[in-house]
């Protein structure tokens, strides 16, 4: 059996999405900026996709800018504001994705002030710290909405109110939360949100940035007058259509199916001795992404567990996919106060629409088995006594 439990890294494209997409590759293939019928058909499809994405978050169609993915959306929001404002301070959190984290580093090098706000032990932003750091020169607050590692879902409305009270602009990285948590840009007042197609069973290479009308950002690159002047380049019509289709397919039913598998897995794995769940509890879907399980098994190392599970056809992750090649302990787990001894024993299991309960049961069984085997190799059994070996 092959069990893909890494849906936070990326997802399988829904066959229905792939089918729809194909039509816009081989049949409706015009350039959406062309004046002739081939172009007009493409334009109509693109604008329908834009409307559809907008509707999912209660935005207007002209507030949706299509991009190449989550990273570009995050950069367009952050760099876009920096380029427009020229100077100022930015606030962010200690649990951001590298797409925000490294962009913050880059703008810091260009002379902008950057302050990272702490989170609590479940990963929730310290709203008092936010309040304290907000001042007139804060040009942007960028906070991850649904955390990619531990699933914490921030309170968009509360954050938005604080930020707007002080007259600043709020960007939220919703790459993981989009379609999994209800988002209403009108009710919450958030100014920009990043989204990515490949996290919701759509194709890779497509994303979007919601930019509230009236918020001025500079583009990251230059060319034709596409996407309201915010993002040039021949429009990826098939990608946009597929993204919209994928978003439409993420129904409440699917979400609750995903949650029940995740809940089962978490409950089972917490029965393993010396294991713990990182992030918020699994009960409230508005506080934790429904597809995310992040569990630490003491006395073993996550990468070893990953490879053991790989031999059983089970795919899990030890952090975000793009940092899986790095040795640094997860900055997210550090931020919520996890001891460095146990950080490395953490694996992330994330569900998607194509997982089944049968798969979940198989995975639980093998995870328990592999944790046990690795603990047999480990010098530590019931405590980390003697961990700090001296020279």
């Amino acid at each position: 059996m092959r069990v893909y439990l890494d849906n936070a890294a990326t997802t399988r494209v829904d066959p229905a999405v792939a089918e729809e997409m194909k039509k816009y590759l081989t049949d409706i293939y015009g350039n959406a900026s062309s004046l002739h019928a081939f172009g007009r058909e493409a334009r109509e499809a693109l604008e329908r996709a834009r409307e559809s994405i907008a509707k999912k978050i209660n935005a207007n169609a002209n507030e949706i800018v299509f991009t190449s993915g989550g990273t570009e959306s995050d950069n367009l929001a952050i760099q876009g504001i920096c380029l427009a404002k020229k100077k100022g301070k930015l606030l962010t959190s200690t649990i951001e994705h590298p797409a925000v984290n490294n962009t913050m580093l880059a703008v810091k090098e260009r002379g902008f002030g950057v302050v990272k706000l702490a989170v609590d032990s479940e990963g929730f932003l310290n709203l008092d710290a936010l309040q304290d750091e907000l001042s007139g020169d804060v040009i942007l607050v960028s906070i991850i909405h649904g955390n990619n590692e531990i699933g914490t879902v921030q309170d968009m409305k509360a954050i938005s109110e604080i930020v707007h009270d002080k007259g600043s602009i709020l960007h939220m990285d919703c790459v993981q939360s989009f379609t999994k948590v209800p988002i209403d840009v009108k009710k919450t007042g958030v100014d920009m949100i990043s989204m990515a197609s490949h996290k919701i069973h759509g194709p890779k290479g497509v994303g979007a940035l919601f930019v509230r009308e009236g918020i001025e950002i500079e583009p990251l690159f230059y060319g034709g007058p596409h996407e309201f002047g915010k993002r040039p380049g021949t429009e990826n019509v098939a990608g946009a259509v597929a993204f919209a289709k994928a978003a439409e397919l993420m129904t409440a039913n699917e979400i609750s199916k995903i949650k029940s598998m995740r809940d089962y897995l978490v409950r089972e794995l917490l029965e393993v001795e010396d294991s713990l769940l990182n992030g918020p509890g699994i009960d409230n879907p508005n506080r934790r992404l429904v597809n995310n399980a992040n569990i630490t098994f003491k006395y073993i190392e996550g990468e070893s567990l990953l490879y053991k599970l790989d031999d059983y056809g089970i795919a899990v992750s030890t952090g975000s996919a793009c940092s899986s090649r790095s040795l640094k302990p997860s900055h997210v787990l550090s931020a919520i106060g996890l001891d460095h001894k146990i950080i490395h024993g953490t694996v992330r299991m994330t569900f998607g629409r194509f997982n089944s309960m049968e798969e979940t049961k198989y995975a639980v069984e093998k995870i328990k088995l592999c944790v046990d085997e690795l603990r047999q190799i480990s010098p530590f059994k019931h405590s980390f006594d003697n961990y700090d070996v001296k020279g």
Binding site: E301, S304, H340, H344, Q376, I377, P379, Y387, V389
Partner: protein, 135 residues
């Protein structure tokens, strides 16, 4: 392929899947315990020595794939060696046997060699104190 530098060799995975000489020697003649501050890995190496020859060896490792396979291959290598031969082993010998490791993982082979050095040091210390007692 450059971007594939992180992949493990077949040899590494073989040892990871079926680690040799795993466990503890209760009445070991030398024990080496080392920890790696870079990634938090910890390795314990136990040796039995008879007539200056390593007759048995076992390890316990808390760490990643590379750490576990380095441990396993090292124990294979040193079994039957004299203390002096074992002492001369370097991380490059381990790496060679493993068909290499990605640059970010090189320190894992160092860990195994350090555990060995410490176990030999421990063995010598014990022998010395034994000798002194015998005086």
């Amino acid at each position: 392929m450059k971007m594939d530098a992180f992949r493990y060799s077949k040899k590494v995975l073989e040892h990871f899947r079926n680690p040799h000489n795993m466990g503890e020697i209760k009445d070991a003649d030398g024990i080496g315990r080392v920890g790696n501050p870079v990634c938090g890995d910890v390795m314990y190496l136990y040796i039995k020595v008879k007539d200056n020859v390593i007759t048995d060896v076992k390890f316990q490792t808390f760490g990643c794939v590379a750490a576990i396979s380095s441990s396993s291959i090292l124990t294979d290598m040193i079994k039957g060696m004299t203390i002096e031969e074992a002492e001369k082993l370097t991380k490059d010998d381990v790496l060679k046997k493993l068909d290499g490791l990605a640059p970010v993982k090189l320190h894992c082979s160092v860990l195994a060699v350090e555990a060995l050095r410490k176990a030999i040091g421990d063995y010598r210390k014990r022998k010395n104190s034994e000798r002194q007692r015998n005086c």
